[in-house]
């Protein structure tokens, strides 16, 4: 939609003219009470407006979720437009303000936006439509049942009609219906269509603005040196030499909180980005690294291996797996390792904050605008009403931008300098400072007798995001993400052995679903071979859950699973993430002395799909990210990350990207999360395919497949 030339932040108070506003009562996530009225009547009411229809027939739909590439910028308004009966091309999309009191959570994580908002959005769209129909019915003196809504027009059988704009004033005076009828999904015209995204034209001509593109008058640019070993304390720094660099204005010690730990740094504030970098090049900081330089990836994994001998805490249990495993001979055991990974969104982390007496303002790309608002309010004792959060498009997030730490740095430096401060992390900062996707060791054991699996143990040895500090060493359920307990092994235990140390971890796309399924679904393949069964048949024998079965059966059918192809190895994996179930088949072939994925087919059941093209894009992206994490990882050397930038931490490049085919199964169930679909299955399906072709089992990532031929 070319009409959107810049993103606007419209608030109710700033709307002039006559508009029918539809929103719902703030904060009421479950029992949504829809509120409607004319803009003039609703002034001063705390209302999370989603729909605004003007007498000029303009239709504004509000998106209250930040956009990082996941496509909710378009798919949230699509849900509103569906029930409202307006043409998606004829509407304007506006980003809502950031306000937890009004909109509830606006955090974009865990592929949740569509899942959690779907019912509420439909209800608001339907309420507006019914009000407009009632207004028309009243004018004509007929029953509302004899009115139909289509393309922003209400008509009656005799052909007479009113546009929505003509009905706005009347509709705004009516009481909203208690439970307006919702459309039958079979009548959906917008939901389920591959509608073009209205943000895309802006992303082809440089017009889309990201946090890093924002400048505010009088701002200073900050570049911050932080301890490579994460927890280092600043002992001293050469302030005078840095201040002598042209353009440098201040040098301050600063800090931020990362999961309960204080992370220190020294910031160089300058007139331009380049001057801040030049100043930083001269900066020398003496750190107290507290002996953390002794730690490296080997010591971490050696410790994990030791710890894996512990019984751990049971996170899921069925039957008595442990006694069978401990009293049987010939236990099948396999250990799988996955490394730390960095999020590295293409837009380096950044934030602008201006702290003034009694007010504050933030500009930047964030997955968590309200988190920043509450932080600023808490830290600087400013009323939330006096804090303005301007959130932009994000150049990727992948979980990293759900944290508020960079805004905390910018706030601290603004507070100290009295100026608006823009903090921009270098790529090296981003890649080496974390927090990271957790490294993990997964140990699996099974007893097979008479070609049947009698008992399985899946033990996860890893740090847990929710429990990184303090004394509690009890593993939590977060650690078991992506382990399919729907497999009906008669005796099955999932256990965690919690690890704690200085490497900071956080949410990374698909979280533990990005590590555990590599082990779990590879081990299922090992067990299929141990029981002499085909991997699909093996899984189907153990699964009653209809959605797992459906995606597996469809994947097998679509890919002609049973058919052997010369020179091609095939692997399969199935996972559930954020309610979405998906099965993936990877075909690999030998080339130039290596083994490479040739084609990746994913079959998804994620309930009603709002925009299949967006879901496909998310799946393609998830696969690319999963492949990158298969080939490359971070290593800790001398307490710090060894890979400094993209020359050593290899993201997937276009020439490594295989053919990708995505099939979305029809469903009328409510939507599940789509943003991480495909990522969890890549590693196991690929490893299983490599085994099929070469007989070599991959149990440690990253791996260089170019030497696997």
């Amino acid at each position: 939609m070319e009409t959107i030339t810049r993103r606007k932040f419209i608030q109710l108070s700033s709307i002039t003219g006559t508009f029918l506003i539809v929103g719902c009562v703030p904060g009421k996530e479950e029992a949504t009470k829809v509120v409607t009225g004319l803009a003039s009547q609703l002034k001063g009411i705390n209302l999370n407006q989603f729909i605004s229809i003007g007498t000029d027939n303009s239709i504004l739909l509000f998106n209250h979720r930040p956009e990082m590439g996941q496509g909710t910028f378009q798919s949230i308004p699509m849900i509103l437009a569906e029930e409202l009966e307006v043409n998606i091309e004829d509407i304007d999309i506006h980003q809502s303000e950031a306000n937890r009191e009004v909109y509830g959570s606006q955090m974009v994580v865990g592929s949740r936006s569509i899942q959690t908002e779907y019912a509420k959005l439909r209800l608001m769209g339907a309420t507006a439509r019914e009000l407009l129909k009632q207004a028309a019915a009243n004018r004509w003196g007929i029953n509302i049942k004899d009115c139909t809504a289509e393309n922003a027009v209400i008509s009656q059988t005799n052909g007479e009609s009113f546009t929505y704009g003509e009905l706005v004033e009347d509709a705004g005076k009516l009481d909203p219906p208690e439970s307006p009828p919702l459309k039958d999904p079979s009548a959906f015209k917008i939901i389920g269509q591959p509608v073009w995204r209205s943000d895309i034209p802006l992303k082809t001509n440089g017009a889309a603005k990201y946090g890093i593109d924002i400048s505010v008058p009088g701002m200073l640019h900050a570049s911050i040196e932080r301890s490579p070993v994460f927890l280092g304390k600043v002992l001293s720094f050469n302030e005078d030499e840095v201040l002598a660099v042209p353009g440098v204005k201040h040098v301050f010690k600063t800090s931020r909180q990362v999961y309960g730990r204080t992370r220190e740094g020294v910031a160089v504030l300058a007139e331009s980005y380049w001057a801040s970098i030049k100043g930083r090049n001269v900066l020398k900081v003496e750190w107290d690294n507290q002996g953390l330089e002794e730690i490296n990836s080997d010591t971490i994994f050696n410790k994990y291996r030791q710890e894996s001998k512990k019984k751990g805490d049971e996170l899921f249990g069925r039957g008595d797996a442990l006694s069978i495993l401990n009293s049987s001979a010939g236990v099948i055991t396999a250990e799988y390792e996955t490394p730390y990974q960095a999020h590295v969104p293409m837009e380096p982390m950044n934030a602008i904050v201006h702290i003034e007496e009694g007010r504050a303002e933030f500009w930047g790309s964030t997955q968590n605008p309200n988190g920043i608002k509450s932080f600023l309010s808490r830290q600087y004792e400013i009323d939330e009403a006096n804090i303005k959060i301007n959130y932009t498009f994000m150049g990727g997030g992948f979980g990293r931008r759900s944290m508020t730490d960079v805004a905390e740095e910018a706030a601290d430096l603004s507070f100290k300098s009295g100026k608006p401060v823009k903090v921009v992390w270098s790529r090296e900062d981003d890649q080496t400072q974390g927090p990271f996707r957790a490294a993990s060791l997964n140990v699996l054991r099974a007893v097979v007798k008479d070609d049947e699996v009698k008992a399985v143990e899946h033990k996860v040895v890893a740090q847990e995001i929710r429990n990184q500090t303090g004394d509690s060493m009890e593993a939590g359920r977060q650690l078991m993400g992506g382990i399919t307990t729907a497999y009906l092994f008669p005796n099955f235990t999932v256990r965690g052995v919690l690890q704690k140390h200085h490497v900071p971890i956080s949410y990374w796309r698909a979280v533990y679903h990005s590590t555990n399924p590599f082990a779990h679904e590879s081990f299922m393949d090992e067990l299929a071979h141990a029981t002499g069964r085909d991997p699909v048949e093996f899984r189907l024998n153990l699964l009653e859950h209809p959605r797992y079965r459906r995606v597996l059966e469809e994947a097998a059918r679509i890919t002609n699973w049973g058919e052997k192809k010369e020179g091609i190895g095939r692997g399969i994996a199935v996972v559930e993430r954020s309610g979405a179930h998906f099965a993936m088949v990877v075909d690999v072939e030998k080339k130039d002395g290596g083994v490479f994925p040739k084609k990746i087919t994913t079959v998804l059941d994620l309930g009603i799909c709002i925009n299949p093209d967006t879901v496909r894009a998310q799946t393609e992206g998830s696969i690319v990210m999963g492949l990158g994490a298969f080939y490359s990882g971070l290593t800790i050397e001398n307490g710090a990350v060894a890979e400094q930038n993209f020359h050593t931490y290899q993201l997937l490049r276009i020439d490594q990207c295989p053919e990708i085919e995505t099939h979305i199964l029809e469903s009328i169930a409510d939507p599940d999360g789509a943003g991480e679909s495909g990522l969890p299955t890549v590693a196991p399906a690929l490893a299983n395919a490599v085994f099929d072709l070469t007989g070599k089992r991959i149990r440690k990532l990253p791996v260089d497949l170019s030497v696997f031929g």
């Binding site: 590439g69 996941q70 082809t204 001509n205 400048s215 270098s426 997937l652 276009i654 020439d655 053919e659």
Partner: protein
């Protein structure tokens, strides 16, 4: 500080800057053209790609001293109305996700197609392999470059 003369998107510009500063920061901060992005600073990601005298250049490692007198085209200058065949193909294939890498992708593709208007799939992969996309839009980029080459 030094005075540097540049032609950017057809307009003559004179800026006073540290000649060691990479061209990227002059484009973004001194000229306010923020469509060209910073991704890595070491010529590894391609987000900062611009056209200089017909070549695809990583502006993050291109010192301003070398840019004196050169004619530079950024994403903002690729077309008047977003109607360059590569931009059109990008829209038709719905390529961007977060969009951050796309200025670099589009500039690189446009420059590549000027030199090789009818590339093979392998040549497309080769030419585009210097531009990273963390969102993983690669299958669509392949299709879009192909589409643009046929238009």
């Amino acid at each position: 500080m030094a005075i540097i003369n540049l032609t950017v998107n057809g307009e003559k510009k004179t800026i006073e800057v540290d000649p060691e500063m990479p061209l990227l920061w002059a484009i973004r901060e001194n000229l306010g053209l923020t469509g060209t992005k910073f991704g890595c600073g070491i010529a590894q990601c391609g987000s900062c790609t611009v056209r200089i005298d017909g070549e695809s250049v990583r502006s993050c490692t291109y010192p301003l001293s070398a840019a004196e007198g050169k004619s530079i085209v950024t994403i903002e200058g690729l077309s008047e109305d977003n109607d360059h065949p590569v931009q059109q193909a990008w829209i038709e294939e719905q390529v961007p996700q977060c969009g951050y890498c796309q200025s670099g992708q589009i500039m690189n593709a446009a420059i590549f197609l000027e030199k090789n208007p009818h590339p093979t799939d392998e040549e497309i992969d080769q030419a585009m392999s210097g531009i990273l996309c963390r969102c993983g839009c690669y299958t669509r980029i392949k299709k879009a470059v192909k589409r643009a080459s046929l238009s």
